[in-house]
């Protein structure tokens, strides 16, 4: 990757951009140079995931997928093939006889998308096609649980695939069960808010971005649907690398979180602003940058808009609230978020 390419994409550059009303926080900004506007602001965007899909109202994953793939499409001059794990994204986009994808797309199984994508990459390699690029995508269950082996293998071989995990914190497609990405205390159908420690257990779960970093793959990033510029920049940056790359996108789920559909982006933003969802980047296993919290908010502001955490805010559960606050504090320190 050339220096020139990265300089305009550097996160610090967006903070120093001359003030243009909303700077680079809204989707578009008629006062900004084209290069600073998002892909989503243009009428030429690919709409990789198009209208007519059957995602719930206010689905964060539908949004995250279009954001990420459209950005990748722009970065590669529309040379993207996507493989998809079983899950909401697959089910709501391709129920026979209608597909909502406008890009070449394949769905095989729940736990194998990384390997399928690796296979596609291998096919392209053997054909000498270095311009077409491969993206694998799955939910958190398909990534951190059932698809973990294949993903780790893909990382190990450093296959030329960008893996995108849309993390909504559970198995939402099957009716909201706990995954290893379900946050502590969250209510799911298999971690009900009953007993002394209601909701999902503390001190459990896997945080895949750091596991990906441990594989020392070229690029790892976390993103959130509320900050489109940040998300697109990371996808575009990922496409400048060859080898295995991983982006973990936080996508609120109104159904699973018990939140208003209209609050999907708001919650995505609040999750980041309270410190529970760290946004950072890493190259070859080393943390290289983090996106700073703009206006820090208390975690309870974030929790109170989600029914899955309703029990946490009850007076007798202050120990849970305190523990969640500690998680946010730890993230802020660990990833240097302030």
């Amino acid at each position: 990757m050339s220096k020139e390419e990265t300089s305009t994409l550097n996160p610090s550059s967006r903070q120093t951009v001359k003030f243009y009303q909303t700077g680079t926080f809204t989707v578009g900004n008629r006062l900004l140079d084209e290069e600073f506007r998002t892909v989503q602001a243009t009428t030429e965007r690919s709409n990789s995931l198009d209208s007519g899909h059957r995602a719930c109202q206010g689905c964060g994953q539908a949004l995250g997928a279009r954001y990420a793939l459209d950005a990748a499409m722009r970065a590669t001059d529309n040379k993207i093939i996507a493989a998809n794990a079983t899950g909401c994204l697959e089910v709501f986009t391709t129920p026979y006889p209608e597909t909502a994808w406008s890009i070449p797309w394949v769905h095989s199984l729940f736990g194998n998308v990384a390997a399928v994508a690796s296979g596609i990459a291998a096919a392209l390699k053997s054909k000498g096609d270095s311009t077409t690029r491969v993206i694998a995508q799955g939910g958190d269950g398909g990534t951190t649980d059932i698809g973990f082996g294949c993903l780790s293998g893909m990382f190990d071989r450093n296959d030329d695939v960008l893996y995108i995990c849309y993390d909504n914190g559970g198995y939402m497609n099957t009716g909201v069960q706990r995954s290893s990405a379900t946050p502590a205390a969250a209510r799911t159908a298999t971690t009900m808010p009953v007993g002394d420690n209601p909701g999902s257990s503390f001190n459990t779960g896997k945080y895949l971005p750091t596991i990906a970093m441990a594989h020392e793959i070229p690029y790892v990033a976390t993103a959130s649907v509320h900050d489109l510029h940040d998300l697109e920049r990371k996808v575009e940056k990922a496409m400048t690398f060859r080898g295995a790359r991983y982006i973990h996108i936080n996508v609120p789920c109104p159904l699973g979180w018990g939140s208003q559909p209209a609050f999907t982006i708001k919650l995505s933003r609040m999750g980041v602003e309270c410190g529970l969802v760290p946004l950072f980047e890493a190259e070859n296993g080393q943390l290289t940058d983090s996106t700073k919290i703009r206006y820090r908010i208390p975690v309870e502001e974030y929790l109170k808009l989600q029914r899955r955490f309703a029990h946490v805010l009850k007076p007798h559960n202050t120990h849970q609230l305190d523990a969640i606050r500690a998680i946010a504090e730890n993230n802020i320190k660990r990833f240097n978020l302030l």
């Binding site: 001359k18 003030f19 243009y20 009303q21 909303t22 700077g23 680079t24 926080f25 809204t26 989707v27 578009g28 900004n29 008629r30 006062l31 506007r37 998002t38 989503q40 602001a41 009428t43 709409n47 995931l49 198009d50 209208s51 007519g52 899909h53 059957r54 995602a55 109202q57 206010g58 689905c59 964060g60 539908a62 949004l63 279009r66 986009t93 391709t94 026979y96 006889p97 209608e98 597909t99 909502a100 994808w101 406008s102 890009i103 509320h226 489109l228 109104p254 208003q260 559909p261 209209a262 609050f263 999907t264 982006i265 708001k266 933003r269 703009r294 206006y295």
Partner: protein, 548 residues
């Protein structure tokens, strides 16, 4: 590879999901709305502040000037002397600090002067209007009436036009070349100003001049006075006279120890003038506590910066020789239950003074209406109805002479409103203000999207240099700063094409129509999630129930 060879049902052609019209899921429908920005709502002249700021931020200064002057003909003047209630209402104040609207207005005004942009009058309507008084209300009304095509003659008793702008506002706040230039521009539209001409009998003058309508803008010229116990041996002056005499360069009476009595802006003007004229010591005595003085905060601060002392919670009880006796006041603990807010303590202290200036308000001079019995006065002002018409048909009143906030800002708004009312009346109609949109309150916005952008501070003259003369205290914004400040506007309630709705719709149910043309909803696919409404930074989307 042909279509029929693809595996049945398992492999699908792109674009097929368009057949699934997910709009049928919807129970709420988003609609684009225009809400009234609080700045616009609060501006007495009803300036489309947001509109001209947005032109300014794109460096279309002439466009900004034209839009601004649609409502207010004096941007260079008002950019200096307006008390900018717009900034107090500005939603950006809930985020960091209000947009410096006033400073940008001044910048735009300067551009107008530099480039000598002029106004156009409308085609002659054949109607004639007489205006009494060439102060801010009269001049504003004259401007708006010319824009309607009516002939305007202003009769002004003083030797120069401008009224309180000239005789009440010191030069260090409003340099006279700016004042003259902007008044000249109004004259240049074909407004005839007859100076040194006091109207003694309104009806006679109306008939003699063949005027169809009359607008009285004589202001409140009569200072309120107090008499104190004791045998004072010092001059007791009124603020208005002091300021007028200063403008007319009459011999200075503010010599030695000057005490100004009053807590309003006029008191500050007098104190600051006294400092500039070389007074030895200047004290302002106010009945109120600092938080409740009627003068604007910045005026008080600048007054104190220049070395005047402000003494709060004191009332003058008596003046003997050079000694002024002050009663120490306190804020009543029972003032919420309807009692006086400030009450005496019965304790006294004294102050030595060589001059006492009273700055305790003005009223309309009733002498002016001795020959116009049909025009009723009420509580020291001219009685007007909702369209600013006096009790006599075809005679209107505006500015400080009519019930108002008694500021240049409100006078200008009165000028516009009365011009509209007269225009309607001349056509045999009754002026009906246009219905206002819902207010774009802060809670309808999502401020996260606005960049961190601290307010620009206008350059200020050093306090030491201020005392030595009447040079303007507050400076102009640099072009870059003006643009920056304009761009701090959040466009409350009105789409500024940030593309948020277009970008964040999970269903691609919004069509972008191109710059300046906004967006439209594709209701075939909109599921009604409401995310566009929540995430619209400026609150220009509303969710309404779907008819089911």
């Amino acid at each position: 590879m042909t279509v029929q060879h693809k595996p049945f049902a398992i492999t699908l052609d792109v674009g097929s999901s368009h057949l699934n019209k997910t709009g049928s899921w919807r129970s709420m429908r988003p609609v684009y709305v225009d809400r009234l920005p609080p700045c616009n709502k609060t501006c007495p002249s009803g300036e489309d502040i947001q509109g001209w700021l947005s032109l300014a931020e794109e460096e279309d200064y002439e466009g900004a000037w034209r839009l601004l002057t649609r409502d207010n003909p004096f941007p260079a003047i008002m950019g200096r002397v307006c008390y900018h209630p717009c900034e107090g209402a500005c939603n950006r104040g809930s985020l960091d600090l209000p947009v410096g609207i006033n400073s940008v207005e001044r910048f735009i005004g300067e551009q107008g002067l530099i480039n000598n942009w002029q106004f156009e009058a409308a085609e002659d309507s054949g109607k004639k209007v007489m205006i009494i008084g060439a102060g801010p209300a009269g001049l504003s009304a004259a401007y708006h009436l010319r824009r309607f095509g009516h002939a305007v003659t202003i009769y002004e008793a003083a030797e120069k036009p401008g009224g309180m702008l000239r005789y009440g506002i010191p030069k260090y706040r409003l340099p006279r070349e700016k004042l003259n230039a902007e008044i000249y521009r109004v004259e240049n539209m074909g407004v005839e100003i007859t100076l040194n001409h006091k109207i003694e009998d309104i009806n006679t003058a109306r008939k003699a001049g063949g005027f169809d309508a009359v607008l009285i803008c004589v202001g409140a010229q009569k200072s309120n006075m107090l008499t104190f116990e004791g045998d004072a041996d010092i001059p007791v002056l009124d603020a208005l006279t002091v300021l007028r005499d200063t403008e007319l360069e009459k011999p200075n009476q503010l010599i030695g120890r000057v005490v100004v009595y009053g807590g309003g802006n006029s008191a500050m003007d007098v104190a600051r003038t006294a400092v500039r004229l070389g007074a030895q010591d200047v004290k302002v005595v106010s009945r109120e506590d600092p938080d409740n003085m009627t003068a604007h905060k910045f005026e008080i601060i600048e007054t104190m910066e220049e070395g005047s002392e402000v003494i709060n919670l004191r009332t003058i009880k008596s003046v003997n020789g050079h000694e002024i006796s002050l009663e120490i006041m306190k804020i009543s603990e029972q003032h919420h239950s309807g009692q006086l807010r400030v009450v005496g303590t019965g304790e006294f202290e004294t102050l030595e003074a060589d001059v006492l200036v009273l700055a305790i308000g003005q009223n309309v001079d009733p002498v002016l209406f001795e020959n116009s019995a049909a025009i009723e006065l009420q509580e020291h002002t001219i009685k007007v109805d909702s369209i600013m018409q006096t009790t006599q048909d075809g005679i209107f009143a505006a500015g400080d002479a009519a019930p108002s906030q008694r500021s240049v800002t409100s006078a200008l708004g009165h000028g516009k409103k009365s011009a509209r009312a007269i225009n309607a009346w001349l056509a045999g109609k009754v002026y009906q203000p246009a219905p206002q949109n819902e207010i774009a309150s802060f809670d309808k916005m999502e401020p996260w999207y606005y960049s961190d952008a601290p307010r620009t501070v206008q350059p200020h003259l050093d306090a030491v240099r201020r005392k030595s003369g009447f040079a303007e205290v507050v400076g102009d914004l640099e072009p870059d700063h003006a643009k920056y400040e304009a761009r701090r506007c959040m466009s409350c309630g009105n789409c500024f094409e940030c593309d948020n709705c277009y970008g964040i719709c999970p269903d691609n149910a919004i069509r972008k129509l191109g710059q300046g043309r906004g967006y439209e909803f594709k209701y075939d696919y909109c599921k009604g999630c409401g995310m566009c409404d929540t995430e619209c930074p400026c609150g220009a989307i509303n969710m309404i129930p779907e008819d089911i």
